[in-house]
């Protein structure tokens, strides 16, 4: 009687249906509606469609002709590389170091994880102050070191770097925690055996830790790549409307701008569809390149 709940499938369905309904109403319906919207003429947010665009694929043609969209795609690709190298890469290094540190491991875990719990908007405002032109922290430090002129850290030459640094910094802790959990699952016996066999610390990392962390790293990379496609809040707070000169557009910020600033809802829907397609393609590529392995 006690285990009948696991044998009879009806009870499971009762639990699955609400979640399915929730997903259907709040995810799948809007998603398919969004695809339809991308082919229609919608005058403003919340307004009804005025019919199909002529030709119906107008917005998709525009996607390929739009200079800002091209810039957004290039920046998003750069963001992907930055997340792989800057977020996952740094997280691996930090995780390995914290795993090897004797005392204070818990302290470092908290320190590195902390940025994740701060809202991206607050972080954006904080980094705005750090890179502020007049009286910003970086410029004041440079002034103390003898620099006589102010640097505009948000100009065309520096904007991309200044936008990506905080995004990178914010999520290092997230991947760090995943990797630390992966490291904890590696048996200490393996390290002891390797040490008895005379393996150096680097050899233990190279031949035991990294191969056994492979699958966790793969998961982190897939999360990082797909996550970079929808990065929005922090860049928007620091560089609204692609400032300066449209150099900082990302697919997420450009989609928002089209929907909420220019009221171009159908074009924004087309950008959203493109983001989903790119997400599927890139995660497939990443899965192919970083195949999971069985040990």
């Amino acid at each position: 009687m006690e285990s009948s709940i696991y044998k009879k499938k009806r009870a499971l369905i009762v639990f699955l249906v609400p979640a399915f309904l929730f997903m259907a109403v709040f995810l799948y319906y809007p998603f398919f509606r969004n695809i339809l919207n991308s082919f229609q003429s919608i005058p403003s947010l919340g307004a009804g469609s005025k019919g199909w665009n002529t030709p119906w694929y107008t917005n998709y043609v525009k996607l390929f002709q739009d200079v800002n969209m091209r810039r957004a795609l290039i920046n998003t690709l750069i963001m992907m590389l930055v997340t792989i190298v800057g977020q996952v890469g740094i997280a691996i290094v930090l995780a390995l170091m914290v795993d090897n540190v004797g005392k204070g491991g818990k302290f470092f875990r908290t320190v590195y994880f902390f940025p994740i719990v701060i809202s991206a908007t607050a972080l954006g405002l904080m980094f705005n102050l750090i890179f502020l032109y007049d009286k910003g922290m970086v410029n004041q430090l440079l002034e103390l070191l003898g620099k006589s002129t102010l640097t505009d850290w948000k100009d065309s030459a520096h904007a991309l770097l200044v936008m990506m640094l905080p995004v990178m910094w914010q999520y290092v802790g997230f991947y760090f925690v995943i990797l630390i959990t992966g490291l904890n699952n590696i048996s200490e016996d393996l390290y002891e055996v390797a040490a008895i066999d005379g393996a150096t610390r680097w050899q233990r990392v190279r031949y035991i830790t990294l191969p056994l962390l492979h699958n966790v790293i793969c998961t982190c990379i897939v999360l990082a790549v797909t996550g970079s496609l929808k990065v929005f809040d922090l860049p928007w707070v620091m560089f609204p409307k692609g400032m300066p000169l449209g150099k900082t557009w990302l697919t997420g910020t450009y989609m928002y701008y089209q929907a909420f600033n220019t009221n171009n809802v159908d074009y924004s829907s087309a950008i959203a569809v493109l983001i989903v397609v790119l997400g599927i393609i890139t995660s497939k590529i990443v899965n192919k390149v970083f195949k999971e392995v069985e040990y």
Binding site: P18, A47, Y133, D152, D155, L245
Partner: protein, 446 residues
């Protein structure tokens, strides 16, 4: 069996919670004790009347026992989009203080607000203290919907400390474009930024006046059909004027990457000389001179004395004393609140309370109002910048509405958001204006 019951109950609760918010409310269950009104205004943030509004709402709640759910926010494009979306989604506020230009077209077209005449049919004294001739009619049907409170003007604020350092006189009523450029050169040579403006963020005021410089008060509100006709060439010349100022280095070095509050801080902290902005900035500048922005008693009067406001230099037929201004906003009552009998009375009372003679005089200060008989204002209550604003307004020869209020949404993208591309030469001014006018033609054709 027990587990099964728990399973079913839990699942039932989940399903119920999903659809909890989907039910349609029929009728109204508001009683006098729990009656509430949702209100949205722009009296928030740096708006000089934010505190007046808070005080008035608190007094109204106390007097009428009606709870006001206030969702006021700083007036910007995001605010406008939010309001329009709320109307489209059927979650509009009961009372709204909003623009009376093209931004209101969508919800007026859909009949989602009530006209003043319709309200007067049931409440004959509604807005009876206003001069109807001064209430701006809707662009949609020429009916009047919004009861105005305070007007606005746009002028040029000056940091006299910077002007003194550069050896420049405070501009007067006959200030020309050439004099302005000569002054900018002197200010730049003295090591200051002549103009505080974030062209990548809020180019609105420069956009408006640069175009106004090539039109007249009589023709300014005529949106051209093309770049070669009517005001079209004037619009292009206006954009090129801004480009000229940018190329001469009269804007801050970070004008393309800074936000408006950054360049405003440069102005108030004595690093920039001129700021073209609206009458609401009088309050913003005073707040910047207070040690506690929320507490007017902490005002540093000596610091505030260093600021003044004057006319915007002219570069054409317009006189410097012809300003952009008027009554561009007012209180609307939504159809939803009007149809709800419990709320209708409260909404009317709220608008009447916020538009009494005394209240309007308090909000209007140095700006215009639509009152039939404006009460005498006690100028001793005003700070030095407010007094200077009143002096400036005394010399104004005309107030003309803003062309950008008729030219909203996608039309603005190429010359507002595209201003950095225009001033850096990435996009030709003529092409940018043509793109905006083409979007306007599409919009008006719909």
């Amino acid at each position: 069996m027990k587990k099964k019951m728990v399973c079913v109950l839990l699942a039932g609760t989940m399903v119920t919670s999903i659809f909890a918010g989907c039910g349609k409310k029929t009728g109204t269950d508001n009683t006098a004790a729990d009656l509430s009104l949702s209100v949205t205004t722009t009296f928030a943030g740096e708006d000089g009347n934010a505190q007046n509004y808070k005080d008035a709402v608190a007094a109204f709640e106390k007097q009428e026992g009606v709870k006001i759910n206030d969702a006021s926010a700083t007036s910007d494009e995001t605010f406008k989009a939010r309001v329009q979306t709320d109307f489209q989604a059927g979650s509009e506020p009961d009372v709204l203080f909003f623009f009376n230009g093209a931004d209101a077209n969508s919800f007026i077209q859909e009949g989602k607000v009530v006209s003043i005449d319709d309200i007067r049919a049931k409440y004959p004294d509604y807005a009876s203290n206003m001069n109807d001739d001064l209430i701006t009619p809707s662009l949609v049907d020429n009916k009047k919907y919004a009861v105005p409170v305070n007007g606005y003007w746009e002028g040029m604020f000056c940091n006299t400390e910077v002007l003194d350092q550069a050896g420049v006189e405070v501009p007067g009523a006959d200030y020309t474009w050439d004099q302005f450029q000569a002054d900018c050169e002197k200010i730049k040579a003295a090591g200051y930024a002549p103009i505080a403006a974030a062209l990548g963020d809020i180019p609105h005021y420069w956009w408006e006046y640069s175009i106004f410089n090539h039109t007249t008060p009589a023709t300014h509100l005529e949106i051209p059909t093309s770049v070669d006709e009517g005001n079209g060439p004037g619009w292009v010349s206006g954009m090129e004027d801004i480009k000229g100022l940018y190329e001469k280095g009269y804007f801050p070095d970070n004008t393309l990457s800074a936000k408006d509050d950054e360049t405003f801080a440069m102005f108030t902290s004595g690093k920039a000389a001129f700021l073209i902005d609206g009458s609401w900035k009088v309050g913003g500048i005073a707040a910047a001179c207070q040690s506690d922005a929320e507490d007017p008693s902490t005002l540093d009067k000596d610091k505030l004395d260093k600021f003044t406001v004057t006319y915007v230099p002219t570069n054409g037929e317009r006189k410097a004393t012809d300003l952009i201004g008027g009554l561009s906003m007012g209180y609307y009552i939504s159809k939803k609140a009007w149809d709800d009998e419990a709320k209708r009375d409260a909404a009317v009372k709220f608008v009447e309370y916020m538009t009494t003679d005394d209240m309007v005089a308090k909000f209007a200060q140095h700006t215009a109002s639509a009152l039939k008989e404006a009460p005498k204002v006690d100028e001793s209550q005003f700070n030095s910048l407010q007094v200077k604003a009143i002096d400036m307004m005394a010399g104004v020869t005309s107030l003309t509405g803003a062309a950008q209020d008729l030219f909203n949404g996608e039309c603005r993208v190429s010359t507002f958001d595209g201003m950095p591309q225009i001033v850096t030469g990435e996009v030709d001014a003529k092409d940018a204006v043509a793109e905006g006018l083409s979007a306007y033609a599409d919009q008006t054709a719909e």
